[in-house]
């Protein structure tokens, strides 16, 4: 089936507000990445991030241009292709931070498991929207939806990269909740999470990787390993707390500049925001992220059909999960997992994924009127 560029005027009914918020976040991120890496030789991180933001925006426009219905029609092939890439990745990848998640593409390396998330979003949306029903999901339907998510997740766990694998769960979770789950099922799942997960964390301790166990145990008692993961969180809290109301000023955060903050341009970029821009900067950044989420929820509600609604909700689920886990992590409310903050954290794959998601949302919004 030919790709259908039904409307070539990209500017028509484009969600400029959403794009502006994302761009603002990307620039805040870029500034703090510069600040976090300025003491290192060269501007490697800053330049790479700037290029990826440009590439992400370009991709966003491309994704927004192609009618999401035609994307949806091609999704089976994209899905299968994605699985092939995920199988190929650990075979070809170098080991970075204990996981084989990256493949080298010339001067840059990409993390397929990030970008493929958006393929799963559309695949899940297509499956759920095709059900066309008002009532609750049956067990079989839940199982089929879960399989769509579980296969790539399983492949990612083999790399092994638990953080990224976990970030696939909101696609399934949000999709099922919106499609309709029996209240009894929701209550049971909540109970299972609340009761079983902490217990199994210990019981299954043997099955977890050493660094994962370390992260879990450190979350329970951050003081047990001052030089390890607990140290990271402690330094992050110090950075944020010492930022105060107005912050220490951009490029002037001592925790950031003197290297006390670990992973400061990647997973802990929000600590740098907190230290250098203070509570005001935090409010502004969370405000922009909140704006993107609320605006997207609104766009979901005005979508022309359930496919569009599910696509947006999938992206919102991913954004929300990243936001909640990452921000809660930097203030010690959640264990340290390698989850980047959309639009802000350094990392090409993360930036591309965030902008592709934005393209999907804008895509659905542009076509909200039934013609």
């Amino acid at each position: 089936m030919p790709v259908n560029f039904e409307d070539r005027r990209i500017g028509k009914d484009f969600d400029w507000a959403l794009f502006a918020a994302a761009l603002a976040l990307a620039l805040i991120g870029l500034t703090e990445i510069y600040s976090a890496t300025m003491s290192l030789p060269g501007d490697v991180a800053f330049m790479k991030q700037a290029i990826f933001i440009g590439a992400g925006i370009a991709l966003m426009f491309v994704v927004a241009s192609v009618d999401y219905h035609s994307i949806s029609e091609h999704i089976p092939w994209l899905y299968l292709g994605s699985l092939a890439v995920l199988i190929y990745t650990p075979l070809a990848a170098r080991r970075i931070a204990g996981a084989k998640s990256w493949i080298d593409l010339g001067p840059v390396s990409v993390q397929p498991s990030e970008i493929i998330k958006m393929v799963i979003v559309v695949a899940m949306a297509r499956y759920l929207s095709d059900l066309h029903m008002k009532g609750y999901l049956s067990f079989n339907q839940i199982l089929k939806a879960a399989m769509i998510c579980a296969v790539p997740m399983g492949l990612i766990l083999l790399q092994p990269d638990m953080g990224t694998a976990l970030s696939y769960l909101p696609i399934l979770g949000v999709g099922l909740l919106v499609r309709g789950l029996r209240p009894a099922v929701i209550v049971s799942v909540v109970l299972i999470v609340v009761l079983i997960v902490p217990v199994s964390a210990f019981v299954l301790g043997d099955y977890l990787k050493a660094h994962q166990k370390e992260r879990l145990l450190t979350f329970i008692d951050p003081s047990r390993d001052p030089q390890g993961k607990g140290f990271q969180v402690q330094q992050s809290k110090i950075a944020i707390g010492s930022g105060g109301v107005l912050g220490k000023g951009i490029f002037k955060g001592s925790q950031n500049q003197l290297g006390f903050l670990p992973a400061r341009h990647t997973d802990f970029i929000f600590s740098v925001v907190g230290e250098e821009m203070g509570f005001v900067g935090v409010l502004g950044t969370l405000g922009l992220l909140g704006f993107i989420l609320f605006r997207s929820l609104h766009n979901a509600q005005t979508a022309r059909d359930s496919l569009g609604l599910f696509i947006i909700m999938g992206v919102v689920g991913v954004y929300f999960f990243h936001l909640l886990v990452n921000v809660a992590m930097v203030i010690g409310f959640f264990p340290v997992v390698g989850i980047p903050l959309p639009f802000l954290s350094y990392g090409g794959s993360s930036i591309l994924t965030a902008f592709i998601g934005l393209g999907l949302i804008i895509n659905v919004r542009r076509r909200r009127y039934v013609n």
């Binding site: 110090i238 707390g241 105060g244 006390f260 929820l297 979901a300 359930s306």
Partner: protein, 618 residues
């Protein structure tokens, strides 16, 4: 169907708005907690991360003799130190890297670290002090590996140029102990400081110590210095000029030699201490570097008690030296006339008690002059009998005995002038008969035996006071006026004047001149041209456990004298423990001091022999 389906889906999406809102409120609340409610605490923690205070140790002031010759100086020294905070290696790993090079075992290192385990983690722990060039090179060559965990730190150390010379007066320094730290101003003293532990180093610590400075630097996460934030320069300690005369001190210690004893010389008109020698001594340089436990134990176990300052910390029976004070007391009390004569038959019986003179055949008819020159016991038994113990005690106390001189050193002993009250109190746990004062005890005291005891300093001080017409100036090693010039408030010197007739001073001095110059017991103290007057003492050692078997029953030897015998400039007390006769053991020590003093005074003292190492311009 489509429309209804979308309506249901949209209503569920609407729930998402609340969930997102709740999550954002939760996160903002978290940031409120850290950035506004608790911000102050985290600002402190961030500052603790980035600031590091590096101490700059102040140079301690030097100690000089009265002619500004340097007795104690400082020398540069380096320690290998270890910082626990932010350490990347275990002690085991460090021992493997450093052990062979520094000659240390893991146990050595553990012991050092264990001792300082309660101190803040950022404070360097000394692994090896006073290291040599090879050690410094060894550590610096491993800078990359060791980062800032182990490094070389500068610390000035004390250098006692004259070794054990005058060590009991000068003292030594050492690292402050937790107990010593408790009662001190934390603004001035801190753990790891070197403080005076003994002698002048201890007494004038506040003058000598100065104030440490520091550099406040900003460091990165690897404790590397990024920039200097602030600096306070150290203020060096003040030099301490003492009243000691290096030449006299050397002469005194050379004369004492290997004997156990003490010598002190004062200027009776000013109270200045010219010589303070106590033997045996020890090398205070041992304490400048951390002294090993075994080396300290060895010194401490020495039966000769090397740490005691025998000039002020111990008291001894004065023997015949006390006869000088008896004579003065007798004359003042009117019980003795310069023309009185007593027939010494070798012994005397008073109140049914028979006491012998030291000369078996007796001295025959003796007046006061002959009694002093020949040290006749019988003559002074009579004086004692006439005075009785209470009057003896009264005059002795007035003349400066039996009480502290308040010299500017810690640990001074008061000596003892016994009275019946003292005996009753001292023996209160015994039966009544033991508490009673007996007449024979008065006779013992009259010749400086029995319970009466003096410190060597007291003997010189009281003799100087008597020879200068009853004027007692508080003895001191540092003149408060020189301290005041440097801005320190010193104690004002006490001066006392007791009533004594010029004729009494004259008669006693004349007798003491005879002791030295007219065939008396103290001729070995004489110096040609310098009218030395003095009195020997040979005190029996009774019931005192001693160390060397051969010396066990040897007497303690004394010589106390002054010169010139009119308007004296210098008073000397020399004491040799178990030295035998005062005239043969102690008088030569006094002679060495008088002789050196006189040669300096008359310009005959050459500086060719072991001259001063360094001299400060006045």
């Amino acid at each position: 169907m489509r429309r209804e389906e979308l309506t249901v889906l949209r209503s569920r999406v609407n729930v998402g708005v609340y969930i997102v809102a709740a999550a954002l409120v939760f996160l903002v609340g978290g940031f409120w907690h850290f950035q506004i409610a608790q911000s102050g605490r985290f600002v402190e923690l961030a500052d603790k991360n980035r600031f590091k205070q590096i101490q700059i140790i102040a140079q301690r002031g030097r100690i000089l003799d009265r002619e500004n010759r340097v007795l104690v100086d400082n020398r540069p020294s380096y320690n290998v130190v270890y910082v626990r905070e932010g350490a990347h290696h275990s002690l085991e790993e460090l021992a493997a890297v450093l052990g062979p090079g520094l000659g240390m075992t893991l146990e050595d290192m553990k012991e050092r670290v264990e001792k300082s385990k309660n101190e803040p983690k950022f404070r360097p722990i000394i692994l090896k002090e006073d290291v040599d060039v090879a050690d410094i090179a060894f550590i610096n060559a491993r800078k990359l590996e060791l980062r800032d965990e182990v490094f070389v730190e500068y610390q000035p150390r004390r250098k006692y140029l004259e070794g054990d010379l005058a060590v009991h007066a000068i003292g030594y320094t050492g690292e402050i102990t937790p107990d010593e730290l408790k009662n001190r101003d934390p603004k001035i003293y801190k753990a790891g400081d070197q403080i005076g532990k003994f002698g002048l180093e201890q007494r004038y610590d506040s003058v000598l110590r100065g104030r440490d400075g520091y550099r406040l630097v900003i460091v990165d996460n690897r404790q590397r210095e990024v920039e200097q934030f602030g600096r306070e320069d150290p203020v060096g300690g003040n030099d301490l000029r003492t009243t000691i005369d290096l030449d006299l001190q050397r002469a005194a210690e050379a004369a004492l030699g290997d004997q156990v004893g003490a010598a002190v010389a004062l200027d009776p008109s000013t109270g200045e201490v010219l010589v303070m020698a106590s033997k045996p001594g020890f090398d205070p340089n041992l304490f400048a570097t951390r002294i090993s436990a075994s080396a300290y134990q060895e010194l401490n176990r020495d039966p000769r008690k090397v740490f005691r300052n025998r000039v002020i910390q111990d008291h001894y029976a004065p023997g015949s030296v006390f006869k000088v004070f008896m004579a003065a007391a007798g004359l003042e009390a009117g019980v003795l006339d310069p023309l009185d004569h007593v027939n010494c038959t070798g012994s005397v019986t008073i109140d049914g008690v028979t006491k012998a003179c030291w000369k078996a055949g007796g001295h025959g008819s003796v007046g006061l002059y002959e009694a002093l020159v020949n040290s006749c016991n019988v003559f002074f038994y009579n004086v004692g009998k006439k005075l009785d113990i209470n009057r003896i005690a009264h005059y002795a106390m007035e003349m400066g005995l039996g009480r502290k001189t308040n010299i500017d050193l810690y640990g001074e002993d008061a000596g003892l002038i016994p009275t019946p009250e003292w005996k009753a109190s001292a023996y209160r746990t015994r039966n009544k008969a033991d508490q009673k004062w007996y007449g024979s005890e008065t006779l013992d005291v009259s010749i400086g035996q029995g319970a009466v005891s003096l410190t060597v300093l007291q003997a010189a001080w009281a003799m100087g006071g008597l020879a200068s017409g009853g004027r007692l100036v508080q003895p001191h090693l540092v003149d408060p006026q020189t301290l005041a010039k440097d801005g320190f408030v010193g104690e004002k010197l006490e001066t006392a004047q007791y009533a004594i007739r010029a004729s009494t001073v004259d008669v006693v001095s004349r007798g003491m001149w005879g002791v030295v110059n007219e065939g008396g017991t103290g001729t070995r103290a004489s110096v040609d041209g310098f009218d030395v007057a003095g009195k020997t003492g040979t005190a029996q050692v009774v019931g005192k456990k001693s160390y060397g078997k051969d010396e066990e029953f040897e007497d303690n030897a004394w010589f106390v004298g002054f010169a010139p015998y009119r308007n004296p400039e210098i008073v000397v007390a020399a004491f040799v423990e178990h030295g035998g006769h005062g005239g043969t053991a102690a008088a030569p020590v006094a002679h060495a001091i008088f002789d050196t003093y006189y040669r300096k005074k008359t310009g005959q003292f050459g500086t060719q022999s072991s001259g001063p190492i360094a001299q400060v311009k006045p």
